[in-house]
């Protein structure tokens, strides 16, 4: 499971940063600014690529904002493939990320993570990160038994 991601500041349009108040999520690492998105944030959000545009969407339903969406931020790849989400009309999205966070371990992500976007009862877009059983390497590295489905990459 990936509980946070970071995206280089330079990858986010200034307009998007201003509109979603992302300045408070800015941190510096090695002299470069990056925007961090944590699931445990008071307002969990994730960047997504949708129809060729970078947007910011609510990350899951951990705070119970929706009464019918699952109260989590992740979904199994097998659940998606088995059609569990079909009734909600999910859209496959890419979550751009340069680094992922799991149990304190920041690990490099080359492109991003697979996700699905579904509407809640008010029509707000909610993104769930897709995960799969962790590889041996990921499990040893992070001590987690779930790992995100990365785009054209596997740790």
């Amino acid at each position: 499971m990936c509980v946070g991601i970071a995206l280089a500041w330079s990858e986010l349009p200034t307009e998007l940063i201003g509109r979603h108040g992302l300045e408070r999520r800015v941190h510096e690492r090695g002299g470069e600014r990056e925007v961090r998105f944590y699931f445990r944030d008071r307002s969990p959000r994730l960047p997504i690529w949708r129809d060729g545009r970078l947007e910011i969407a609510r990350w899951g339903n951990g705070r119970g904002d929706s009464r019918f969406l699952p109260r989590t931020g992740w979904t199994w790849l097998s659940t998606v493939q088995e059609g569990y989400w079909r009734e909600l009309g999910p859209i496959a999205v890419d979550i751009p990320a340069t680094i992922g966070l799991e149990r304190g371990v920041w690990y490099r992500i080359r492109q991003g993570i697979r996700g699905i976007l579904v509407p809640d009862e008010r029509g707000h877009a909610v993104v769930y990160m897709i995960c799969e059983p962790a590889s041996h390497y990921y499990q040893v590295m992070t001590r987690s038994n779930r790992m995100p489905v990365l785009i054209e990459e596997r740790i």
Binding site: V105, W106, H136, V140
Partner: protein
Amino acid sequence: MLKAVGHLDADCFYVSAERVRDDFLRGKPVGVLGNQGACVIAKSYEMKAAGVGTGMPIWDALVRCPEGIYVKRDFRWYEVLSRQMLEVVQQWSPRVEYYSIDEFFFAAEPGPDGSFQRLAERIRGAILDRVGVPVTVGIARTRTLAKLISDMAKPFGALAILDRRAEEELLAERPVTEITGIAGRRAARLSPWGILTCLDLAQADRRLVRSLLTATGEALWWELNGEDVRPIQSRRPSHKALSRGGSFGEATHRPTVLYAWLVRNLERLIEELEYHAVAAGRLTVQVIYKDGRSGVGQATLPVPADRFDVLLDVVRPCLRRAWIPRALASHMHLIADNLTARRDTPADLFESPARRARAEAVAQLKREVNARHGRFVLRSAATLPLASIYRDTANEYDICDIRGKICF
């Protein structure tokens, strides 16, 4: 013309190699993980400054450097860059020793201007331009001095020291433990004699050094005094022993998993025996346990062999001897020595020709299938408990699979 020896050492090589293909990592604290993700095998200078050491478990590294970025090792990529660096150095020197994946020794020959300092700078610049890896180059009268100089000049240094006075200044500043080959126990033998710095060692009585550190120590003494007694080896000498093994990543006490690791290590060892066209005369299984204990099993073969069925029959009881029931094992090493050239290996007179022919046919089939479809595609079913290890293609290629290096 003045003869000199150069030593080239890549600066935090695995991290630099990752940065060659990933600009994002530049300037950030980066750790490359090995051993199935359990330990930091290389760290950037930024991570080193935070107190992370090579070989440190990732959980300790996280405490010291919570902002560090961790990357999975990729030895195929590191080998590509290593061989590119080797090619560059070979263009500047007629004799180059491929000492390790990120370290070379070479016969230093200055250009028409006669300057060794400029030679060091040019090689450093050429590697950065053509490979993208920062390196440090030291040039001196001997390889031991050249290595001391490059260690001192890191990172991204280029330094040639060839006059005795400058050498003495350098040696006086360095503790004797900075010489490769002199670690704790040897330093402890020297210390009662007041030999604490490299210069103390260079100025000590040669016979005393030999009595304390044997012929190896005496060779270092000559080298520190400018006598080049350890020649550059542009071809790797024949192996005296071959080994395979390492960390399990996750410690285990399960006999089936230990046996699976034994078989995996054996199949990899056989690949190496076949590559070098040698047969093993003796096999050793060493198992290291998390509580600090270790177990060893060793057996000598009646006839040297490189066949899976024969060697498995030999190593199985070795593992039994090395096994400590219920203790968590973390590492295993399988070592073959008393190597004999395959062509000189006699046939086992007590083995039926039919059995031998069948085993060789299976081995041949295994080689052909794996050559066509990928390493380890066809392997012993005893390795099934390690399915997740085989699923990860990064485990197909390890540092020890990079051939031609003098050192591990």
